[in-house]
């Protein structure tokens, strides 16, 4: 059997790559893609640990997490479309005035 810790290491690697993407991308869509990667890594973790517990709790959490991530993507994309329409740019450095 493959030990759970190797799945967790895989997830940690994917999470760190997503973090790198979030920190380096200047395009909102690129940041959103990297956030997807991080969420996916968390799901791998949940499923792997859930399998080692063996009572379906981890998988149930992973399914909830998947649904929440999809909802987050929909709202994120709506904000991207709004940014693009209102200021003709999806560079995050130019969107700093969105607060307030």
């Amino acid at each position: 059997m493959v030990p759970v810790s190797s799945y967790m290491l895989l997830a940690a690697g994917m999470f760190s790559m997503g973090l790198y993407g979030v920190l380096t991308r200047k395009n909102v869509l690129g940041i959103l893609l990297s956030v997807e990667l991080m969420a996916n890594a968390v799901n791998v973790n949940l499923v792997a640990i859930g399998r080692s517990l063996g009572d379906g709790r981890g998988e149930a959490f992973a399914l909830f997490a998947i649904a929440l991530t999809v909802a987050e993507v929909v709202v994120g994309l709506a904000i991207v479309i709004f940014l693009h329409r209102s200021r003709r740019s999806i560079d995050v450095d130019q969107a700093a005035s969105m607060h307030g």
């Binding site: 059997m1 493959v2 030990p3 759970v4 810790s5 190797s6 799945y7 967790m8 290491l9 895989l10 940690a12 690697g13 994917m14 999470f15 760190s16 790559m17 997503g18 973090l19 790198y20 993407g21 920190l23 380096t24 395009n27 869509l29 690129g30 893609l33 990297s34 997807e36 990667l37 996916n40 799901n43 791998v44 499923v47 399998r51 080692s52 063996g54 009572d55 379906g56 709790r57 998988e59 149930a60 399914l63 909830f64 649904a67 929440l68 991530t69 999809v70 909802a71 993507v73 929909v74 709202v75 994309l77 709506a78 904000i79 479309i81 693009h84 329409r85 740019s89 999806i90 560079d91």
Partner: protein, 165 residues
Amino acid sequence: MSWLPMVPFALLASALLACAWCVVTSDDLVHSVLWLALTLVVTAGVYVQLQAEFIAAVQVLLYAGGVAVLMIFAVLLTKRLTGERIPHESGNRVRAALASLSVFGLLTAFILRMPASYAQPAQRSATKVLGERFLVDYALPFEVLSVLLVATMIGAIVIARKEDA
């Protein structure tokens, strides 16, 4: 003997990490989205290897199907701006690499100190257990989730619609 099950895992894991690397470094955003779709499909393969077939199916349907197509739509809608590539700052890149590597090191240190445990051998009724979890133990969160999805849909329409519509 004990390393034999590691071979498919190692293949999947290296494919997954390579795809993930391409997602965050690819210059063209459309390529990035396609690499992300491939990453999500390979993740479904990891779920199959963990014997969580239902989650693998949901992953392919919802993520690789739905999210990837939505992302492609958004990239193409904003194509005029993403066609000219927005450059990375090299100083920013080094600092980002440092930050993510230190996060990875921290996580690895914690994971390696964990006591060794293994995924359970195959259960015939994993999906049945999951369904019972959802409709008995987690029935209330399940219903709240549907309210959340309706709220998300309405919110997305309100944010993204034209001002004069």
